[in-house]
């Protein structure tokens, strides 16, 4: 009896958490355009999705920007973290506190100030400006995930590698990189997610022609949302779910190894 109650409670919580997404998934297979009436199972919206150039372009923009921003931010952030680690404590702490500001700052402030900066610099708002903006707000996350991996021990293992005859570059590749690798990966994934997720900053820096998934959905909400976007959201949800499962599995493997 007690066990049954427990299970019921669990199911209620899960329903509460996943009901909205479930609704979305179900409606994406609805034949009619209505959000309220179920008229039959259909893949109509999925078909429409893959023939809609505007949506496909937005998807492409979203993921190409996310990927490039994550790569660039991870690269710059990792190098920055290594440099910071070599600095004296006081300037390092100063820079780390400055690093926190973009994290705490409201997206809208970042978005507007970046837009103004780009315009003042004479940059034409486009895919490139969105990318720059995303690199900008991803950088602190990379720094924060790589820094804790670079401890005093990394400095001494680096020296040990030099002592054993490795050049600085070899020592970096064979000793430092493997030690901070998990931090780099999580910094990359965080950046990627933050970039895909972003709406506000993108909205202000994207210019006229460019849309990402989030800005596209926003612009369509005003004219009436079409179930095509349900289909798109369902697909994105599935991709995220898959990524989550894979990463969990990898983590479990690492723990047991």
């Amino acid at each position: 009896m007690k066990k049954a109650l427990k299970n019921i409670y669990l199911i209620i919580i899960l329903l509460f958490l996943y009901m909205p997404i479930l609704t979305l998934v179900v409606l994406s297979f609805n034949q009619s355009k209505s959000m309220f009436k179920w008229t039959g199972l259909s893949l109509r919206w999925y078909r429409e999705l893959f023939s809609n150039g505007e949506i496909l372009r937005a998807v492409w923009n979203t993921f190409s920007i996310a990927f490039c921003a994550a790569v660039a931010a991870t690269l710059i952030g990792t190098l920055g973290a290594i440099g910071l680690q070599a600095m004296k404590k006081r300037p390092r702490n100063l820079i780390l506190s400055v690093n926190q500001i973009p994290l705490l700052n409201a997206d809208i402030v970042i978005g507007i100030s970046l837009m103004l900066t780009f315009i003042a610099a004479g940059l034409y708002l486009s895919w490139g400006t969105v990318l720059l903006a995303h690199i900008f707000f991803c950088l602190p996350y990379v720094l924060l995930s790589v820094m804790p991996r670079l401890r005093q021990s990394t400095a001494s293992t680096y020296e040990a590698a030099l002592d054993l005859g490795a050049s600085s570059f070899q020592a970096f590749l064979t000793v430092v990189l493997p030690e901070i690798w998990p931090g780099i990966i999580s910094g990359f994934l965080l950046s990627f997610t933050m970039s895909v997720d972003d709406f506000v900053v993108t909205h202000f820096t994207r210019g006229a022609g460019i849309n990402t998934i989030s800005t596209l959905i926003y612009s369509q909400v005003r004219v009436g949302i079409r179930p095509v976007l349900f289909a798109l959201s369902t697909l994105i949800f599935l991709v995220v779910l898959l990524a989550l499962l894979v990463s969990n599995r990898m983590q479990r493997k690492e723990e047991t190894a």
Partner: protein, 357 residues
């Protein structure tokens, strides 16, 4: 004369305002076991890091087999280091750690395999090739660090307080093993420690450092039996350091009582410092010795009793296997060979030089 293996010439090094080494010169002969001994902050670790190439001296030169290597980076020096906290590579197995230097220098697989097996056997870790670093105990990690350094067949092995993180029992074991390893390999060892026992047990030559200066250099016996100044005397072992007056050669006056000794060349009626080791003080019946006094404390510490005797206005530390209860009247005596005379620092500066920590 044959060149020393390593020679430090007039090394000066400061970190900001803090002068760590001041005009330090030191020669290490081939196949010697040299220990740098001193309290923390005395410059011993900086010295070893300069030899290893991890720090550049502000002034002075480092010679290796007669060649100037002051500007040679660590990876081009024919020496290896066992680091204080081992600095093992956590993502590699024990075998891969030991093989690291050999892989970097491009040795053949067969050679590396044999050498790793040999190295691990030498440090009593045969068969540990595939173990992970974090699965090893502190003592085992220390041995891996040793093996990783010696498989490269360096001319010189630097050891930076390698036993510091181990417990007493393990440390004593490792002291003998290190000594044996050195005999077996014929490598020159430059060892850094703040532990006087380690230094005295293992070394051919002990260099006592303090405040960036060499206080004394010599065999363990010389350092222990004939400390040259108050710092060395008090840092190494327990000692009674009392003011005295050198009446003439072979006669010193302590608290008004003349003691025959074996030291010469201090001049006549010169103030000196006298060092007498607590185990060298003999307790006799009152009146039978030179200085009468009273036992004021007595602690049993295992091998012997440690007593304090108030005599002549000084509380003497006495170690003896025979217990004398507190309050007993005794007389202190010491044979001439066990009295060590040190020059009294003439000025406060000189004193600071000796005692500055």
């Amino acid at each position: 004369m044959k060149d020393a293996l390593v020679e430090l010439q007039h090394i000066t090094k400061a970190f900001g305002e803090n002068v760590v080494l001041d005009d330090l010169s030191l020669a290490i002969e081939e196949n010697e076991f040299v220990t740098l001994l001193g309290p923390s902050g005395c410059g011993k670790s900086t010295t070893i890091r300069i030899v290893g190439g991890f720090e550049k001296p502000d002034q002075g030169r480092v010679l290796f087999e007669g060649k100037d290597i002051t500007d040679v980076p660590p990876n081009r020096r024919n020496l290896n280091t066992v680091f204080q906290k081992y600095a093992l590579f956590p993502h590699l197995t024990v075998g891969q750690n030991v093989a690291y230097g050999l892989v970097i220098s491009g040795k053949t697989d067969q050679y590396i395999r044999d050498k790793v097996r040999y190295g691990l056997k030498l440090v009593n870790l045969a068969g540990f090739e595939d173990r992970r670093i974090e699965s090893l105990s502190g003592g085992q990690q220390q041995r891996v660090a040793m093996a990783r350094a010696i498989v490269n067949e360096p001319k010189l092995l630097l050891l930076d307080e390698p036993l510091g993180a181990l417990d007493l029992k393990l440390r004593e074991e490792m002291e003998y093993e290190l000594r044996n390893l050195k005999e077996e390999l014929g490598i020159t060892f430059l060892y850094v420690t703040h532990d006087q026992e380690e230094a005295l047990t293992m070394s051919d030559k002990v260099v006592v450092l303090n405040g960036g200066y060499i206080q004394q250099m010599g065999t363990p016996e010389e350092i222990y039996n004939e400390p040259e100044n108050a710092f060395v005397a008090s840092f190494i072992g327990d000692s009674n350091i009392v003011p005295g007056k050198m009446v003439r050669d072979r006669l010193v006056e302590i608290y008004g009582v003349p003691f025959p000794c074996v030291d010469e060349g201090f001049g006549e009626n010169r103030p000196v410092d006298v060092v007498i080791r607590p185990e060298d003080l003999i307790l006799r019946e009152p009146g039978a010795g030179k200085l009468d006094g009273t036992v004021i404390s007595n602690i049993f510490i295992g091998v012997h009793y440690e007593m304090q005797v108030a005599a002549g206005g000084f509380e003497w530390l006495v170690q003896n296997t025979v217990s004398h209860p507190v309050g007993e009247h005794v007389s202190l005596d010491v044979i001439p060979e066990n009295i060590q005379i040190m020059k009294r620092p003439a000025s406060e500066d000189e004193e600071a030089l000796a005692l500055d920590v």
